[in-house]
Subunit: 463 residues, 4 copies
Amino acid sequence: MKYVGNKVEDLKIAYIGGGSRQWARVLMRDLALTDDLSGEVRLYDIDYDAALLNEKIGNAVSTYEDAKSEWKWKAYKTLEEALTGADFVFISIIPGTFDEMESDVHTPEKYGIYQSVGDTTGPGGIVRALRAIPMIEKIALAVKACCPDAWVINYSNPMSIFTRTLYAVWPEIKAFGCCHEVFAVQKLLVRALRECRGIEGVDRTEIKTRVMGVNHFTWFTEAKYRNIDLFEVWEEFLAKYEKDGVLDGRDDNWINRHFECAHKVKFDLYKKFGYIAAAGDRHLAEFCPLDWYLSSPERVYNWKFSLTPVSWRRKNLEEANAETVKLANGESKLKLTPSGEEAIDQMRALLGLRDLVTNVNLPNRGQIPNLPLGVCVETNAAFTTDCVTPVASGDLPASIYPLVARVAGVQEATVKAGLARDLDLGFAAFLSDPLVRIPQEDAKKLYDEMIDNTKHYLTEYFK
Amino acid sequence: MKYVGNKVEDLKIAYIGGGSRQWARVLMRDLALTDDLSGEVRLYDIDYDAALLNEKIGNAVSTYEDAKSEWKWKAYKTLEEALTGADFVFISIIPGTFDEMESDVHTPEKYGIYQSVGDTTGPGGIVRALRAIPMIEKIALAVKACCPDAWVINYSNPMSIFTRTLYAVWPEIKAFGCCHEVFAVQKLLVRALRECRGIEGVDRTEIKTRVMGVNHFTWFTEAKYRNIDLFEVWEEFLAKYEKDGVLDGRDDNWINRHFECAHKVKFDLYKKFGYIAAAGDRHLAEFCPLDWYLSSPERVYNWKFSLTPVSWRRKNLEEANAETVKLANGESKLKLTPSGEEAIDQMRALLGLRDLVTNVNLPNRGQIPNLPLGVCVETNAAFTTDCVTPVASGDLPASIYPLVARVAGVQEATVKAGLARDLDLGFAAFLSDPLVRIPQEDAKKLYDEMIDNTKHYLTEYFK
Amino acid sequence: MKYVGNKVEDLKIAYIGGGSRQWARVLMRDLALTDDLSGEVRLYDIDYDAALLNEKIGNAVSTYEDAKSEWKWKAYKTLEEALTGADFVFISIIPGTFDEMESDVHTPEKYGIYQSVGDTTGPGGIVRALRAIPMIEKIALAVKACCPDAWVINYSNPMSIFTRTLYAVWPEIKAFGCCHEVFAVQKLLVRALRECRGIEGVDRTEIKTRVMGVNHFTWFTEAKYRNIDLFEVWEEFLAKYEKDGVLDGRDDNWINRHFECAHKVKFDLYKKFGYIAAAGDRHLAEFCPLDWYLSSPERVYNWKFSLTPVSWRRKNLEEANAETVKLANGESKLKLTPSGEEAIDQMRALLGLRDLVTNVNLPNRGQIPNLPLGVCVETNAAFTTDCVTPVASGDLPASIYPLVARVAGVQEATVKAGLARDLDLGFAAFLSDPLVRIPQEDAKKLYDEMIDNTKHYLTEYFK
Amino acid sequence: MKYVGNKVEDLKIAYIGGGSRQWARVLMRDLALTDDLSGEVRLYDIDYDAALLNEKIGNAVSTYEDAKSEWKWKAYKTLEEALTGADFVFISIIPGTFDEMESDVHTPEKYGIYQSVGDTTGPGGIVRALRAIPMIEKIALAVKACCPDAWVINYSNPMSIFTRTLYAVWPEIKAFGCCHEVFAVQKLLVRALRECRGIEGVDRTEIKTRVMGVNHFTWFTEAKYRNIDLFEVWEEFLAKYEKDGVLDGRDDNWINRHFECAHKVKFDLYKKFGYIAAAGDRHLAEFCPLDWYLSSPERVYNWKFSLTPVSWRRKNLEEANAETVKLANGESKLKLTPSGEEAIDQMRALLGLRDLVTNVNLPNRGQIPNLPLGVCVETNAAFTTDCVTPVASGDLPASIYPLVARVAGVQEATVKAGLARDLDLGFAAFLSDPLVRIPQEDAKKLYDEMIDNTKHYLTEYFK
């Protein structure tokens, strides 16, 4: 890279999972809208053709009239080529195909375990993690070999397990995990301020929150806007929406919505535990004991969030593929609007162009003293030049410690199981998961079946 | 007290719960069999008459031919009188009556939650704790005022919560909690050595174990006899007994036994998590998710441990009362056999007459680094003169951390709820308990009903 | 306070030490130049007349043409009046008079201990601390009583001891200590960038440093400007200036300068320990063993920093007093240039108007894991709305740990001595100070003499 | 090994430094007096002939009439042969010869630094450590390769650095450092009890002490005999002996004694810091700032302890060598009296034959929370079967923290310097040592000269 005035040119970004139809496009838009960075994005994907399509689309975007900077997008055939010399590395991969995800998400339904997402925690998240960990190991070692000074920004799920594994494999890595779920809840507080206090025009970044927990089960233990305690505002907001949920005036048939929620789970958790759970309800519900929210589709329906079936993902992918071809052909164009993601600002901060305090996922080095050292936690951190330092956030409150410590422990056991290729330890983790609220004999059958369904990716476990 | 040669005379022991029919009698026997200690035992009980009966019995025991030392037993009408000048204080109380315990143990059965004991954890343990905490507070403050240098040895359940509360109320207190469950599992290892390796004559205290966890959910993460790794012996023992359990050749109708177990839960936990759970199965099962062992009486029956109904306790109490009268009248005599409890050796060590390394319950000051500071944990400790210091036991292994951290957190939240007289926080703890595996709406109904049943003891919570 | 658009009006700032001739004037200038804050500054001083003069000056400043905001300055007769309702509290006091400082700084010279400042560490700093601690206690308790939600910003020395004591007295206080020494070294790095790399126009805040240590003995263990490792630049800069020091082209007779240094101590420490000590040499030298830099005036002269005699301070005060009268009369005007201090930006961040990551002094809650919990350390912290959270800075490097741990320990012992009014513990601290490199019998004589000289302020120690 | 009843036969003990004239003979006597252990002692020494002489002597001892067990002593030519199959490994080596020690101890005298021992701390200890660390590395790796399950008991100085290095090189090693200095101070307390309270017949092991610090600079922060607070007794004892010291009725010309002290340093430290320093004054003085006790031979003389010149060691060695020949020839016999050392009891405890709570040196895993994790500390530990676990001793008191943290930090920096073969970091450690109270330019000259004198052993540092 090189600095020219207040701009950085010739940045090299490696993108692992470079055939991505979602995050890669987000990055295209955000990079194109960035006027102080430019350079090359190297796309690596096990599906090289998908990466090639993104190469075309990315380079096309650079020619848009409203693009503020020029980026060269290029697909690479090997991970090593893509990484060598990289300044930043994005990880945005799916471990396995929708066939494996089909098993992760839906096999547990036989035993009454419904999963709204199935990629982070619960039976699906754990099995996905066992599949992913050997892959992450390879990535960490490749970064160590090819671009040890690069910053690695992980977007893949299970987020905590990816991030933890990167550090377990190579403790000197400069990596963090990055997730937008917290932002959405900050925006909800913006809305609460508007509706309950009549305060207009507040930006999401003006909502200041003490963030703690694990990814997708993150909590605000304090929230302020200027001199206003947002917990008081939240209680007013909750009083208004508790019964019917926040419906947004859109289609209120929740069964049709696959990524939305009415925040009723969030309200419920607040009433029980006294803090604001800061992720979408689809994620939050998966970290809670099965009977609370996910023991049946009817229960989910009543709590007004949605299960996202893999069939929907498959259909959505078909559409995305069709759109991808159009984009690559030039028949269609990406709309250059800012995504609201923070990747660009994080890079700017790491490059010394600005400061940033935001939430990230990192191994616990004391930022949450009552969780074990080493487990991956989500808290605020200060981003400064070439440096991400978590803030000393303090202990988890007593009411939520049992919920969070348990899942942090399940994740840590899963990482250890994955690194040791130890399916028995994997089952110990599985058994302790809050969703696995079934007789243990059934749990064993379910685990074995799920493992069998993904065994193609677990060859190292069976050596 | 005073030292005469290698003996200590004129010891003053205060016994809170001095009408006790069980522990007080154990102490009578053990003290009478002790040739190097003598003095006075001051009995305090809210049921003064019960204490008076023990006064009579205790003084009678001193006259037995086989008594090796003379103790004066005396009932006191106030806690303060009993404590003033005490060298040791035993706490052995039941918070509330069998009516409250009836509710603790059996009300949850309406929702399919069966509790084998119901005094330590689970819905029963939590509600019992809420009832007990204000009582413990009073005891801690009375110790502070009347005998700040005394050692306080707690025998009451919930053990962890009693011990934690004593320190929370007065951090300088010299207190620990003491429990024999671990010893029984050490004896089981003695048996395993005999049966699997033909080694005879091993004493329980020669079985050396790394102990960690919370009371009644304690684990051996290492176990040695001389140069023999007892985990290997345990696996052989397990292979032999796993299917049918350890039956002892006695009545194998488990439904008739109220304090026994066949160790099948222990074997099962070992197979799943790789470590030896070191308490009776009746206790262990209560710390595990409901569906594992306690979701129905049939399940309990199959796992070959027993539910102890309060009706049995009532009946047993009647018999004990009748026996008490006989003992007090001199119609009957206590049989002076050593109990196997360690209280006398602990006192000896604290008096400088010997050293002792054994397991106790103490707030975590780093003995288990991956549990929060302050929560009450059970580990080994060195007993030396006027000093009990836990050993730096190390982290809980990954496979059992989620199980133990969760319940340690539930206990801590319960203590905070009790100290703050906060029933909402109490419910947050309740909801996170592993046995409360029911829809949350039902959990609320159950909690409210249980609280209502014991409200007579919770007046401070309703102010 | 109240928010009006992006401005905050009606702020209430209490200023303890409100007769200050230095920091109060800095604040006047900086507040006057602030266009988004306004309100009242309440001046409290044991010298009420001095506060009255500042009232006049402050109110005059508000009428300056170039003042961007209006502040009402007002002297109060009691601490309680000044504090009640305050949003911010500045502490900027001198414990005792120049007579006591005369003893602090110059009495040790009899034993060959020269102190360049004498207010932070060394014999002078310790005795000053013993004098100050009872005063700080009173302030902390008054804040607790009168304005428990206010943020307390301490500027007084000894900084670490003031800040630590505030928290020791009332752990819930919202306080931090604030010092500009680090900024000056960041500016030196700006200069090094310019001179060694030809990079112009870099702002001090673009120099990103990992800050750790105790106040006035703070270290940069990493320093970055964009993609440039400033340690490499520092080595070039050092090579250029090591021999003669950085002289600035001004009067090179160091004996005449009382607040300046040639950075030779800093260079020397870098060569020995490998990290950049981030304070003025006058401060740094006082934390090092006496023989390194402060064993004689000649040695100080050769290392090109200066001793600041109290006689100079007295003379300077006279001049400041004369100037004060002129300012109060309107015969003279303050020049409204920004001071470079960060107080305004810190307040803005705490009010939610911006974010800020900067260095502050706070009790160690884990930000430096190899120093004891509780001792006051200086590290970076994130300032967000109503919140200052230190970043998890990591361990002190092995080479500097012995230097820093020792003085952190001396400070902690001093605080404990002060809170317990225990002159013996004070002497234990004194004996362990790096400057007290004299036979211990002499150390005792010196301590006793210094204590005697300030005994008027130590009446509580002699009760 | 094999267990026969309550005895262990066929133990294999490797003794590194097997030509030792002191510790090896102690072990011969103690082993011969042990009736429940027997086996082989494998002697390895770089001076094979010296090992051969001990082989002869050891085997002769086995034939003594008063020997209670039979041990086979055998010299081995390689470390690997000696270690393979060992159950215990003793390390008792001197890094370098008396020529190097001559430099370690006496070169600093040119700069006024007198060292009473010179093997643990101070300039001599640090340079000795730099020489030793590569040797320890080799031993640790050989243990890992040849006998990974063996317990390694280190007797060599610098004790802390040896022990820390063993763990740094191979964290899974089962090792501890063992030192008798604490016992001598416990015996002094026995004497105080006798003289001040008339209590006779107390055994050293009945004196119970809370031990904390680093080896040779260890402190009792509590001391009890039964219900007697020994701090009170110590104050009476001190009052009696403070002026003249404890002279033992022997030759009071201190200059003639090389291993004795009158405990005046200990008394002095008690008066200043409030705790009992638990080692010989010769050791204690070396950890204190130079001017306190060691700035001149006269000062040492007045404090009534002794400098041990290397010339004396040389002469003593000659005598020992002559005696060795006689012992090997059978012209002379060892007197079989118990040494008072604890090695045999430690082995018994590790073999499961008894329990033991005693002081040892181990890396800090939280036993002293206000010292850094990892540094080698001395505290009590519980010895049980195959297990040494330090007790959670608590924080160092404020008055002694600065003294101990500093030297713990110097030791840690020395270990890091040795492992990295980094003489600059070695000098950083050297500069922070309490005895190096000289101008820093002189310190550099001294260090360079000392390094040069031992460069033959430092070849890896100059690569």
